[in-house]
Symmetry: C2
Subunit: 344 residues, 2 copies
């Protein structure tokens, strides 16, 4: 608009009045503006519109990673679908678990004047605070890692308890747990149980409900996958291989990530055993589960709801300045072909 004003020799306010057909403009000024618009090929664009309305109709979505665990890209996909339906676009940024990179991404979001930011998941409170300082609403999806932004969390317990009940009903008593180590996987700066603590607690509760006590030999805690190692199933493979080497090996493995479960399936196969005939396996997330051999019974996370409800919540915050009441979304067991009643 500045270029048009300069060429026409009028103020930008005059240009704006002509372009919006609003307010008094002399015939002469109007003619000069119209000639300048034509000469320059000026066309109001989305960036300029964003500046005028003080909205960019863009939100930032900070992810752990778009590759490795499809959980993140699934949540991002559904947030984007919902955003598109409301005329918004999302900018994805991946911090890859690196707090410095998260800060760079957030600064980029602020520079681009995003209207809000979603985190799946956040890392550092001081980074998230940069958004509050810039007046940009932020919302965490799945995990609450910082008190600096509200969160839509997942009830991990409900699906995990269903999984345990299912195994117990099939006669399993020696049920191994392969999952995230609460001490290794950052809790962030929030109080209350983490995702890892919830899953572990549901495992213990599920055993207790069947009159069983947890056997430390059957519990393997660690990382879901190592980003450095290319993020594949090697962690689950390693844990399961060690479990299968026990004198009294488990008859079922509850692995709290599909990628961990994928590694468990590989170890069982290598040992010459069959799933579910010799051993049952349950995963978590419902990402790659349907592509595994055999198709994996798993606890599904509500990825579509996280994305869609998450976007609608930040949209409300953009429009009204306040977040609506944020739900806790349930997880649920999806039965496929990797569980069966115990052979013996």
């Amino acid at each position: 608009m500045m270029q048009v004003a300069e060429r026409a020799g009028v103020s930008t306010a005059t240009v704006a009045r002509v372009l919006k057909a609003k307010g008094y403009v002399s015939d002469e000024a109007r003619a000069r503006v119209e000639a300048a618009v034509k000469a320059i090929g000026y066309r109001p664009n989305a960036m300029a519109r964003g500046l005028r309305q003080r909205r960019s109709f863009t939100i930032g979505h900070m992810l752990d990673a778009i590759i490795v665990n499809p959980f993140f890209v699934n949540v991002a996909h559904w947030a984007e679908e919902e955003a598109l339906e409301h005329g918004y676009k999302t900018f994805l940024f991946n911090h890859n678990g690196d707090g410095e990179r998260e800060r760079i991404g957030i600064e980029r979001f602020i520079e681009r004047r995003v209207d809000a930011v979603l985190f799946t998941n956040a890392i550092a409170t001081e980074n998230v605070r940069l958004l509050a300082a810039a007046g940009i609403p932020a919302l965490q999806l799945e995990r609450s890692k910082t008190p600096a932004a509200p969160a839509i969390r997942v009830d991990n317990r409900v699906g995990a308890l269903e999984a345990m009940r299912h195994l117990v009903e099939q006669g399993h008593r020696r049920i191994a747990f392969v999952g995230g180590d609460p001490d290794l996987i950052g809790r962030g700066a929030t109080a209350g149980p983490t995702v890892e603590e919830d899953r572990l607690e549901a495992y213990r509760s599920g055993l207790a409900a069947a009159g069983l006590s947890p056997d430390p030999a059957l519990m393997r805690l660690g990382r879901y996958y190592s980003l450095e190692a290319g993020g594949t199933s090697s962690e689950g493979y390693r844990h399961a291989k060690s479990l299968l080497g026990l004198e009294k090996r488990p008859t079922a493995i509850f692995a709290t990530c599909d990628i961990l479960a994928a590694g468990a399936l590989q170890a069982v196969y290598e040992a010459g055993l069959r799933v579910p005939d010799d051993i049952s396996v349950i995963g978590f997330d419902d990402t790659i589960a349907a592509n595994l051999t055999p198709q994996l019974t798993t606890v599904a996370q509500p990825m579509e709801d996280l994305g869609r409800i998450g976007f609608r919540a930040v949209l409300a915050a953009i429009e009204s300045g306040e977040f609506p009441e944020l739900p806790v979304l349930p997880s649920r067991l999806v039965l496929r072909r990797s569980t069966a009643s115990i052979a013996r």
Copy 2:
């Protein structure tokens, strides 16, 4: 800047001269601009900078889908990494195979004034032409679907021939082909062999090199996966199940997508056979291959190079107005655990 100019009662050109500390401005005008900047809390932002420099430092990346086949998100990831290293951000958009949605995405890219657009993959020539009309360089990655933009293609033949040679060397003679049907998977508007034709031709050449002729009973063509059916391994499962039911079943299956291969592994498992003891399986892409059971030998696509070299090519086009010479990138065989020498 317009707001500052209005408040200070000067032209935007004067505001620009003050902010850039460039050109003559009277002391009085400078003081008024500085006061207005302070009063308004004006801060030049990325959008405004983009307008000034006529660059948004953003490129659009049109993908088939961010979920289902991780091929697309891998290429997107590496293009984004390269973009970040050059101070650029990428906007992802998924057309989900729908030409109308591709058009909407392209219009959105134009509105946001992206500096260039990558396609993995394009659909409709008339959509891609919208970019040329807007003066925005466009580049196709992996597939050339339209003459409206240049392409960085993958040499599918080199990896596929390696795969065939590997199977033949292991003694396989009854090698099935499960792959994309050239008649079903759009060739788009370009001449020359498509990805599907290249893979099929490499299969035939591989057989011919071993003195074998293709057996139509062992060739199954179709879609890689059905987006409507949730995009999982059901297509490969169906083909492999039918192949295993043949009186003289194949001793090896070359499936030209890891998701097809995942279905083949499921069918073999269900039939009570073992991979690679009873039957060898090779995939294509190297996306989910390392998470499958057993870990899949596959023809890897150069996803990192597609993304990185692709971004650098559009950057050259943005900066110089011309694309550099575009390479054809090789595919290559990655050996894992799903192939072995023939048992009999």
